[in-house]
């Protein structure tokens, strides 16, 4: 079903004659690793459970060894994908990839030893599609978070699909198999080697079909294909096995998910169809922006995508087909990091209730300047409603609701000059009222969960109040693992209560 498209002469799918692999058996020692049992026989590689020969203590990680199948006397290019993974995996860090342990080179015995991620990939869940909407959304947001983390490390995965996605016990998504990936800081060995588009048929982005290998937004297209499949039980573009079949996605749009699944909310259709846009510029610009919408759909701006119930008509499709004929993608050599830098998420933490007018103005001006410099930036305006640590059910009473709505209204009012001045279109501006006992904790958690790039917030002006109440901004600055800008009102601004009618006489 998920046939890989490689030049057939390269023999990736070959089944026999792979010499060195066959000599390996349980008990064999390769460098410092002992082979325990063969876990998986794949078309391109075998997976062995291994342990370090001289392991110390029992704190050791469960390990696997991936060994490529090499067909005797064949074209050495069959193993380029393995070579690519061997180059890339050691460069990657963090919880969203298996930890790299060791590798062996092709002059002796090629292998990669890495952390074993327990459990199944997402692949079996495809058989259960359509899935419950909550699960689709959860999967989407976890995978988008993982994809963003890899993009931050200058990597485009280029083969995002359920069989390459696993989960840790705590739910963290882990991406595996970097055989088709491209790292901006390493030579792209695949770029020259093959004459067919590289990827997995159903998931390949239009630009991948056109041989573009450096656009991180390709991974968002693949993620959209996966979300579509989990939502509707069908593939948006089928499973073509020819280049001609692959090119159809350049001009034929998918059946809108809501016509296949009536209970799919309009916002989710908006998210999925936005991921599946042919032009990368019309998709989400970063996986973090996608994750933000999946986690907070109530704040999305819906477009005509959300309402579509049928495919585009013949004439529109014909027009697209005509323009797709021999179309070449814009040959812009962008780097992954540049794409991310162009599309940051800026979080404005606004203390609507307590900040002075002067501080609120200064904060607004600072945020405007920051967002202005990056046309791809998204602005999330956040305010925290302080609630008691106990008695959470007060929240749902009428008073709590109206307070929440009041905050939201005030927050939107605060941001109005920014959205007007910068013409923040299509989902570039969202509002979030958080309810939490600790303001700094809530802001930090929101920034982390939504992969915010830059926090902008005001500082309490009066030093006596800072002493009494502690400073929220200094707590955020101390604990945030991202950039924080702390804004202060210009001198004199805070001293004039008359300028801030109704506001409490202290800063945020």
């Amino acid at each position: 079903m998920e046939s890989k498209l490689y030049s057939p002469s390269l023999g990736y799918t070959g089944q026999n004659g792979d010499n060195p692999v066959n000599t390996l058996k349980p008990g064999s020692i390769v460098d410092r690793f002992e082979l325990l049992e063969k876990l998986h026989v794949g078309g391109m590689a075998h997976i062995w459970k291994v342990q370090e020969v001289n392991h110390q203590g029992d704190s050791r990680l469960p390990l696997i060894m991936k060994v490529p199948r090499i067909k005797g006397g064949e074209d050495p290019a069959t193993i380029v994908g393995f070579e690519v993974e061997m180059m890339i995996l050691p460069m990657l860090r963090g919880r969203h990839v298996p930890q790299f342990i060791a590798k062996g080179d092709f002059t002796r015995q090629p292998y990669i030893v890495m952390e074993r991620i327990e459990g199944h990939s997402l692949r079996p869940r495809l058989d259960d599609a359509p899935l419950a909407l909550d699960e689709v959304i959860e999967i989407g947001s976890r995978v988008a978070t993982a994809v963003h983390d890899l993009h931050r490390q200058n990597l485009v995965h280029l083969d995002i699909k359920p069989s390459n996605i696993m989960f840790r016990d705590d739910g963290t998504a882990v991406l595996v198999d970097f055989g088709l990936s491209r790292h901006d800081h390493l030579p792209d060995l695949l770029d020259e080697e093959f004459t067919l588009p590289m990827g997995t048929g159903p998931y390949m982005s239009p630009e991948q079909v056109q041989f573009v290998r450096n656009d991180p937004r390709s991974d968002l297209f693949a993620l959209g294909v996966m979300l579509y499949h989990f939502t509707t039980g069908e593939r948006p573009f089928g499973a073509p096995d020819s280049v001609r079949g692959l090119r159809r996605r350049l001009y034929i749009d998918p059946v809108p998910p809501r016509s296949l699944r009536p209970d799919c909310p309009p916002w989710l259709q908006e998210v999925i169809l936005r991921c599946l846009e042919v032009q990368p510029e019309r998709r989400y610009q970063t996986a973090a922006q996608l994750a933000l919408d999946l986690q907070d759909p109530g704040q999305m701006t819906l477009t005509r995508r959300a309402e579509k119930l049928q495919k585009s008509g013949m004439l529109k499709t014909f027009k697209r087909w005509f323009f797709a004929l021999g179309a070449e993608p814009a040959n812009e050599r962008i780097k992954v990091a540049e794409q991310l830098e162009r599309s940051p998420i800026v979080m404005a933490a606004v203390d609507i209730d307590n900040a002075t007018t002067a501080l609120l103005q200064q904060l607004r001006e600072t945020v405007r300047r920051i967002v202005l410099t990056e046309p791809g930036a998204r602005l999330a305006c956040v305010s925290v409603m302080k609630i008691a640590r106990i008695g959470v059910d007060e929240l749902v009473d009428a008073d709590g609701r109206s307070k929440h709505v009041k905050q939201l209204v005030a927050l939107k009012h605060w941001a109005r000059p920014i959205s007007k001045a910068l013409d923040l279109g299509e989902g570039r501006l969202t509002f979030h009222v958080l309810e939490a006992p600790d303001v700094a904790d809530a802001l930090l958690e929101f920034s982390q969960r939504n992969q915010v790039d830059h926090i902008v917030m005001g500082a309490r002006a009066s030093s006596s109040l800072r002493r009494l109440l502690g400073s929220v901004s200094s707590q955020v600055v101390a604990q945030a693992d991202r950039t924080v800008t702390v804004v202060r009102a210009p001198e004199g601004g805070d001293a004039a209560p008359a300028a801030a009618p109704g506001a409490a006489p202290h800063g945020g």
């Binding site: 050495p76 061997m86 002059t107 800081h185 060995l189």
Partner: protein
Amino acid sequence: MKTAFLSDLHANREAVESVLEHARAQGAQRWVLLGDFVGYGADPAWVVDQVRALVRQGAMAVMGNHDQAVVRGSAPGMRPEARFVIDWTRAQLDANQLDFLASLPMQQQHGDQLYVHANAWAPGGWDYIQSRGDAVRSLQATEARYTFCGHMHEPKLFNLSGTGKAGDFVPTPGVPIPVPPHRQWLIIPGSAGQPRDGNPAACYALLDEATGTLTFQRVPYDHETAGAKIRAADLPQRLASRLEDGH
């Protein structure tokens, strides 16, 4: 063992000092000097002495076209600016320094590594490697797994797979790149003394044999002083200004 590869030093003392200091701090123990030690810059005698001292301690060096031109002296067919620089440079060097330059070999081999200033197919012809095709031609002219070349002032990394497919790559400074020996590699560290890719920082490359990785490095140096010396020596102004903008 870490080996530092320096190329196209071009009589730039400030750049060479900074590169040597940086490479030593990175743990370089071996040195390979890929030619064009003189020409363009204002400190040919100092740079030649430095190269000679390193060679005495075991470094390997090859001859570049500028070194050859200075040894032979200017010829009537050259552009006036080139003749002027060559004659000026010759006048800065004593007999021993000129003898040293004259004694440099066109290429050197060390294990599976080849060192040559311009290319492997005709080292004395001084043809440039400007395309993948040129790189393939050079890689096919040698059995060596690793060819290190100067002559081109922009850092670049070419590779040739067993199937004859070639790739090229503009390296990111400071990132170790695995260079496994089942491919052939052509490594152009870029110029230490006169970078031309828009970045004025001096280039060199560091090969770490223990990890099988190659790291291209950029080292900022005092190009203002280097430029001021060029102006003070009445060498062509452009030779000074191009150090500032790296073109």
